[in-house]
């Protein structure tokens, strides 16, 4: 277990270093001269060639890329993430606030996805190939195909404009969470319901459960006490994938509902070509997703003692 843990941690770190390098190299792709951009922002107006040259030297932009990357990485590790070109504020502080909102949305959505997804999947697995099962399979296929931003519009139209029950933008109270949560969570819920159903049907068809059923075990008990606990390992794998999809989807959903999370922060940065913010936010996204995957991989050994990690 120990050596597996270290190896898995090492792999996650290598990936993060790779992502950070990718994020940093982005600067080289930008058509604008970073020295020019920084000079214009700091001095206001149009800086002359001397000023740009001074900035280039002062910020180390004349150094080789790898040296620049090394310096940047060192600063990031020290928690000094620089300043946003757009607002001039500390990126660390801005990301801290955004992260709180994002995690609130993500964790509530994830809970919703797991509870509803598993319930629907189990419900369908109890009556395979019935009309309800077929209906649910088609409902999930349909939901997965709906563009999430369109779904968000339809939800706003129905619940905010027509019925006036829920607010459609902002993040002032728990009520503000509901529409983004549904718009973001419906797709992953449908995916998870489908996958749970398949995994459960596979488990319910195994010999040990057929024997148990033949000896009089009720379908409900077979499902809840035998099949469900046994699908936890593949389920966690799927959950990690869905979590990653959720983080990606949140980018658009947060923008539509003006939820002040990491996703809308990222989009604003991309729109303004705010390179330092883009770099740091990409890295934060990578840390979040890598941690989730790491947690999933490490939890296998905990939930299934047969898996000897090592």
């Amino acid at each position: 277990m120990g050596s597996y843990f270290l190896r898995r941690l090492g792999k996650a770190l290598v990936i993060l270093i790779g992502v950070s390098f990718l994020a940093y190299v982005l600067i080289d792709l930008a058509p604008a001269d970073p020295a020019q951009v920084i000079a214009a922002q700091r001095l206001g107006g149009h800086p002359n060639a001397d000023q740009v040259a001074w900035v280039r030297q002062a910020y180390g932009l004349d150094q080789p890329l790898l040296v620049q990357y090394g310096r940047w990485a060192q600063q990031v590790l020290q928690g000094n993430w620089g300043y946003s070109i757009r607002t001039g504020n500390s990126i660390t502080a801005e990301i801290g606030t955004a992260l709180r909102y994002s995690l609130t949305l993500a964790l509530w959505t994830l809970s919703f996805v797991v509870v509803v997804g598993v319930a629907l999947g189990a419900w369908a697995a109890l009556r395979p190939d019935s009309l309800w099962d077929q209906l649910m399979r088609w409902a999930t296929l349909i939901i997965v195909a709906v563009p999430e931003f369109w779904l968000a519009f339809l939800l706003i139209l129905l619940f905010a404009v027509q019925l006036g029950w829920l607010p459609s933008y902002g993040a002032k109270s728990g009520w503000h969470l509901i529409l983004p949560l549904v718009a973001l969570g419906l797709g992953p819920t449908a995916q998870l319901a489908r996958l749970t159903r398949i995994l459960l049907l596979d488990e319910l068809g195994r010999d040990y459960l057929r024997t148990a059923r033949a000896k009089g075990l009720s379908a409900r008990r077979a499902l809840l006490h035998h099949a469900l606990p046994n699908i936890v390992v593949p389920f966690i794998t799927l959950l990690a994938v869905q979590f990653s999809a959720l983080v990606g989807g949140a980018v658009i959903i947060e923008t539509i509902f003006t939820w002040p999370g990491l996703g809308s922060y990222y989009i604003t940065a991309v729109e303004f070509r705010d390179i330092p913010v883009i770099q740091t936010t990409v890295l934060v996204f990578a840390v979040i997703i890598s941690s989730a995957n790491l947690l999933a991989d490490l939890s296998y050994g905990l939930v299934d003692p047969r898996i000897r990690l090592g």
Binding site: A30, G187, P234, E271
Partner: protein
């Protein structure tokens, strides 16, 4: 239960992608219902695609002709789907938008498949350091959702159709590479490959003439799974104003234009979303059908 359930959990099961998990075949009655619904959704998607491709013939108006005097009209005999805030005919824009979306999707799919196939074939057959590097690269690109990576590239280089296509291709090849590699690993030590090698066939010939025919079919099935997600991502990026740029009509861009009129002009909100939805549903239903075999 007679038939055993086949479970194959795919790699990239994200939003908008059909899952690669398949179950046992349902009984005949349910199967015929499913069959009907599958082909219904495929036919609807085919209609949308066909009409989009025929946009130059079918579209009644110029999709970018602005006429402020007739702005925001409700659907009528003259304008079947009404007009938008600039007086442009929504029906014409919808059809032309489909042309844009579909050609961009096709291009992205072609590029990603080529990239993934090449990398997968080479890394699977050559093995060793090349394989380690290629798979490391795959893990690296899997560390983030495609939309976040694509946005990072668009943010650095600037918005635009060309940049978006390159960014989507650069961030979407991983599932093909993994699939191809795993298939190549299965057959690289089989007789037909060994024989070709023993006869002195060069690497390129082995890859293209002997291994490619083996992997191409599963890769195409994988493409059918992924293409729905690609369409959604393109619409999403254009919705954010970073993909296809105005005045070129695009479904996602049409939706974001419709946003201020959400409460008042349903004819601007419903058609673009419905078009995307029908195409993605058709793709996913077809993909599900293909993976059931």
């Amino acid at each position: 239960m007679q038939s055993t359930t086949r479970v194959h959990v795919g790699i990239g099961v994200g939003r908008g992608q059909a899952s690669t998990v398949t179950a046992s075949k349902p009984p005949r009655r349910a199967r015929s219902l499913g069959f009907l619904l599958t082909w219904l959704s495929v036919a609807l998607a085919g209609c949308v695609i066909g009409m989009s491709l025929l946009a130059p013939l079918l579209a009644p108006y110029d999709p970018v002709a602005v006429d402020l005097a007739t702005g925001l009209q409700a659907p009528s005999a003259q304008h079947w789907l009404g007009t938008d805030q600039l007086g442009r005919d929504v029906a014409s824009r919808l059809l032309w938008a489909g042309r844009t979306s579909l050609s961009v999707t096709a291009l992205v799919a072609l590029l990603t498949v080529t990239l993934g196939l090449t990398l997968g074939l080479v890394s699977g057959y050559c093995g060793g350091l090349i394989d380690d590097l290629a798979m490391g690269l795959t893990d690296l690109f899997y560390a983030l959702p495609q939309i976040i990576l694509t946005l990072a590239l668009l943010g650095a280089v600037g918005p635009g159709t060309q940049t978006m296509i390159i960014a989507l291709a650069a961030t979407g090849w991983m599932s093909y590479a993994r699939l191809t590699r795993s298939l190549v690993l299965q057959c690289r030590s089989q007789e037909f490959v060994l024989a070709a090698h023993a006869l002195g066939a060069p690497l390129r010939r082995i890859l293209v003439r002997h291994l490619l025919p083996v992997v191409i079919k599963p890769v195409l099935v994988q493409m059918s799974l992924q293409v729905g997600g690609t369409i959604l991502t393109i619409a999403g990026l254009s919705f954010l104003g970073l993909g296809i740029q105005p005045p070129t009509p695009e479904w996602g861009a049409m939706l974001v234009d419709a946003r201020p009129y959400l409460a008042t002009a349903l004819h601007l909100v419903l058609p673009p979303g419905l078009a995307v939805f029908l195409i993605v549903l058709g793709c996913n239903a077809l993909a599900e059908r293909l993976t059931q075999r």
